[in-house]
């Protein structure tokens, strides 16, 4: 029997597979597909202090081996999430979850983090400083080490639970930003968010997305994500949640060899609602094929 157990800041996950924020709603709804308790954890849809509709539609586009989204953080606001969504999820999922939060100012991040920190089921607070879909906000925190450190410090100050900072890949030097977050007290790093990208509709000759640009995710970005996880693993000593195009048990292993302690699966869930289940089910056979007894032992193994 292979051992798929991993740890994030002392929290044990029965396996490293976590549906990525924004691709699994607030979880509960997908209980009709399969028993969610097989999942290592769940990263909830990005939550902001105030409710948001997000960007105008169309906000999805097809790409080679991937997709664009410009959803723009649609969510019912942190109060509603705490009052309605988390209790619903609790009925069907017993493990600690990852609360993904976003904001347009340090104050909003703090407000959101504070609310989530008090929720029993929240195991980790994942601070998204990288969403490319929010004009004038979010993203800017992710491209400067100084701003990233400030958000980290402010959120850490009000939280008792582990705080993971989710980084943007749209930067010249990801390791530098990760390091700034670590120094500012981050307990872990999540990466990568989507790559800023666009498509143009040949029929209308205008951008396909109403918001012009959106975020590229799916297998297309896997090699970039892997490189960034590898670089960040070299730079920091806190745990990394790796993501970006992961779609198979083999991808999970590759991501962990690069340095990830756990792995999020995003776009793959949208193409196949059973993606996480299938990855979890095929993981033991893949581990055996490559002679891996214990997943936690291969973290960073490619270095």
């Amino acid at each position: 029997m292979v051992d798929t157990k991993v740890f994030l800041s002392g929290i044990e996950l029965s396996n490293p597979i976590i549906p990525a924020s924004g691709t699994f709603g607030f979880g509960a709804e997908f209980e009709r597909f399969y028993d969610l308790n097989i999942l290592g954890s769940i990263s909830l849809k990005g939550t902001t202090a105030q409710p948001r509709f997000g960007n105008p539609t169309p906000r999805i586009a097809e790409c080679p081996s991937g997709m664009l989204n410009s959803v723009g953080l649609q969510n019912p606001g942190v109060l509603e999430v705490c009052e309605t969504e988390l209790p619903r999820l609790k009925e069907v999922y017993i493990k600690p979850v990852v609360a993904n939060i976003s904001g347009f100012s340090i104050e909003e991040y703090v407000e959101c983090a504070l609310a989530m920190d008090s929720q029993e089921q929240v195991g980790i607070i994942e601070v998204n400083i990288s969403c490319p879909n929010v004009h004038g906000g979010g993203m800017s925190f992710g491209v400067s080490p100084k701003a990233a450190a400030e958000v980290t410090r402010a959120v850490k100050d009000v939280c008792s639970k582990p705080v993971y900072i989710k980084l943007s890949p749209n930067v010249s030097n990801i390791a530098e930003i990760a390091l700034a977050c670590e120094k500012a007290g981050a307990d872990g790093i999540s990466l990568i968010n989507t790559l800023l990208a666009m498509r143009i509709d040949l029929k209308t000759k205008k951008p396909l997305l109403a918001n012009v640009m959106g975020g590229l995710s799916g297998p297309a970005i896997f090699p970039v994500a892997l490189r960034m996880v590898y670089e960040v693993y070299k730079a920091v000593s806190i745990p990394i949640i790796g993501m970006g195009g992961v779609s198979s048990a083999e991808d999970v292993i590759e991501m962990m060899l690069a340095g990830a302690s756990a792995v999020q699966v995003g776009a793959a869930n949208l193409k196949n609602p059973f993606a996480c289940k299938e990855i979890i089910e095929t993981l033991p056979a893949a581990m055996e094929k490559y002679g891996i007894d214990s997943l936690s032992e291969i973290i960073g193994g490619a270095h």
Partner: protein, 244 residues
């Protein structure tokens, strides 16, 4: 929602760029007309949403127009080929809510979902008036099929090359009495039907989809009752909740 591998039984051309495909598989989750399936195609990342046109036992009928890579790939498939489908998606039309004198208005590839709807309505004894709107004679399909069901059928073409010249709303003017409508088609058509009377109805919308089953928030629209996902709380909206 169910995921199953369907086997293609037939795939034939109906009109210019329009094909009819029948497939066999697990249809147990399909509960209403107006629902849709989401089809995985080789080499394409996103699935393609297509409405349920008809359903008999485990045989599903789809009608689709070739507008891009995905639908063109579908048109090249043949008997025996397999497709991975998500079925039972969307709310579908609610036939418990309508009155007696019904108008069904479909434009282009908005026509197919009205077929199963018409069949179900007729089974309950309600004979709808059906308007099928197309651009031109070469685009027309399913007129005979709706007639065979026993419905009263009007065909419009924008260029007047067949049936009534004009849009579906031009045909609506000719229908004496109706008290409730079901509509599906391009947004401009839906808006025209919406505007042409005060009567109640159900309207089916299209939106670009990431998942088709509620996970991504890609397909949201604003309604009078807040944001709804076209793929879960839609594609059918009640007339009174629509915000244009």
């Amino acid at each position: 929602m169910k995921k199953d591998i369907f086997t293609i039984l037939t795939n034939e051309k109906l009109a210019k760029d329009v094909f009819k495909m029948t497939l066999q598989g697990d249809t147990s989750e399909i509960k209403a007309s107006g629902q849709f399936v989401n089809i995985e195609l080789s080499g394409l990342f996103l699935r393609r949403p297509i409405s349920v046109c008809d359903l008999e036992g485990d045989v599903l009928t789809l009608i689709y127009k070739t507008v891009g890579e995905g639908t063109e790939q579908m048109s090249r498939l043949s008997k025996g080929d397999k497709l991975d489908l998500l079925t039972g998606l969307g709310n579908g039309y609610d036939i418990t809510k309508c009155g007696e004198k019904l108008l069904l208005a479909g434009g282009g590839v908005g026509v197919p979902p009205l077929y199963l709807l018409a069949r179900q309505l007729i089974k309950t004894g309600k004979i709808p008036s059906v308007i099928l709107g197309f651009n031109s004679k070469e685009d027309v399909f399913f007129e005979d099929e709706f007639k065979a069901l026993g419905a009263e059928v009007f065909v419009t073409t924008a260029d007047g090359s067949y049936g009534i010249k004009g849009f579906v709303t031009d045909a609506i003017a000719q229908i004496k009495s109706w008290d409730y409508s079901f509509a599906c088609g391009p947004e401009a058509m839906l808006k025209a039907v919406y505007d042409c009377s005060e009567k109640d109805g159900q309207f089916s919308f299209e939106e670009r989809m990431g998942c088709g089953f509620g996970a991504c928030m890609g397909c949201s629209c604003k309604t009078k009752y807040g944001a709804k996902r076209i793929c879960v709380e839609g594609p059918v909206l009640e007339k009174e909740e629509i915000i244009w």
